[in-house]
Amino acid sequence: MAKQKAEKTKYVVPKSKFNKTYIKRYWQLYALLLLPIIYLIVFKYLPMRYIIIAFKEYKLNMPLSKMPWASVKGQTDALKYFKAAFKDIDFKRALWNTVKLNLLDLIMGFPAPIIFALILNELCFKRFKKVVQTIAYMPHFLSWVIIASLATQLLAPTDGLVNQLITHLGGNSVPFLDDPSHWVGTYVGAGVWQNFGWGSIIYLASIASINTELYEAASVDGAGRFKKMWHVTLPGIKPTIVVLLIMNLGYIMGGGFERPWAMKNNLVIDVAEVISTYVYKVGIQRLKISLTTAVGLFQSVVGLFFLLTANTISRKLGERGIW
């Protein structure tokens, strides 16, 4: 919306009234918007109707309004399923795992693209740089099913390439996939592997916009390669880093479904179950509809809170928010 304000000052907004001539002139634009708006209403706003189920007893084939409010022993208790969720040891585990995996992702995954961009920036062979970039973008285009299977092939205890190398060098085979704590490492590592190249695009663009005179001035002052990296490049991309860091913090409660679902296995379920997989299992497979709607609502509301906070902080620091 900051942007809109900028727009308003940039263009001279024609002051016209909402009358016949206006409609005659602009109706086509509203017609063009019709389909997207219908899409948003149906697939983004209509689902919100069902949120009420979190406070009700779900009954199959009954209209929403007729469903009775959630109750314990005849006493209406609309928050029953929220309380039930927080008594549920599986949900608490999923909540903890979601936060833990997201935080680890952030700690390991956030600096990786920055470091990679800095390294790329030091390459002076243009063609080589381009080849490295193309290769580094590749993992981003692989699906999580594929990445999970690559991990299985590469890290398997006996016949995986990595463990073969380790045992060949005299070490012991590492249970990358079967042992919970090692699995967490594999999960986070796969995330870094998938995203470090793609994430670097934005930092490279940011580096490219740094004034080259700053580098020349630093050279004149006798700064070497690393001094320039530290005193020119990093400060130059600091705004980008700050915005992305804050926005990433905003997604700390979020979490996709496909990555944990593809990477988990039965041996590590204690650390691999996150909210999205929990909701799928308990809600869609075991049909505890009210409970999982409540869980989903909790996640959405907390997620919204984090995002809005992140955005506000970002604005306060004088940076752009994401809207």
Binding site: Q28, L40, Y50, L120, Y137, S143, I146, L308
Partner: protein, 291 residues
Amino acid sequence: MKVKSTQAKIGDWLFVVICVIIAAICVIPMVNLAAKSLSGTEFLIRHEVYLWPKGFSLEAYQTVLSDTKYQRAFVWTAVLTLICTILSLTMTALCAYPLIFPGLKGRGVINVFITITMFFNAGTIPNYLLMNDLHLLENPLVLILPSCLSIYNMIIMRSFFYGIPDSLRESAEIDGASFFQILLKIYVPLSKPVFASLALFYAVGRWNGYGDALMYIKTNKQYFPLQLLLYNILNNVNAVEVAAQEGFNQPGLKDSLKCATVMFATVPILLIYPWLQRYFIAGVTMGAVKE
């Protein structure tokens, strides 16, 4: 002076070495998989295949390519991806274009209406119940409609549209072109880079996605996209069905078959993305810098 330049050269080579290592980390998993998919059974059983195929054999690929199940899933996913990409690009343009007109009344309201959907999601179960009520469960349309517009991508396209000079639009208006004609004749042709970039994003998303199919389609297996089929096979879901297939009973061949199926699902994207590099780089930077 001379000393300094050799120092610089050593530094350059240091970064080259680091980059070679990083690139190797990126490709080795794929190379390992490709080698396994092309290797003979006996070498796989003895765990002797590393980065180069041993006992070169195309048997696994022959099995995969002649299996009607994979053929069908491949064609279906390709058709699905094509439909989704075209539909999504159309929807994205329809949404982005009217919003660049400063004189459009209600633009602020519409922007808020759109932005809310970026921040608040009703959740998995409400979405599931909606699909149920819309009779979209088990319906192939469920793989197309719910994801046919991404607001993030719309913002990227809108940023690009903002970059097109207003004077072009205004002179066309004076010549009597309607807003729809202006979109088709001016904005779309001038926006090829952003269309290419977003087409790639949408296409990759659809080609790689399996979560929606997993949730919404259970019995109509003919509508499983390739990735879900792959997931089921790799994780031995429906183990009986899979074991019944010839090949999957022999341990070595099973491994090479798995690898060949993964290659089969991956190669199309790997062949396409390098050619669109300059477009998607523009797309990514536009989404972040302008907004």
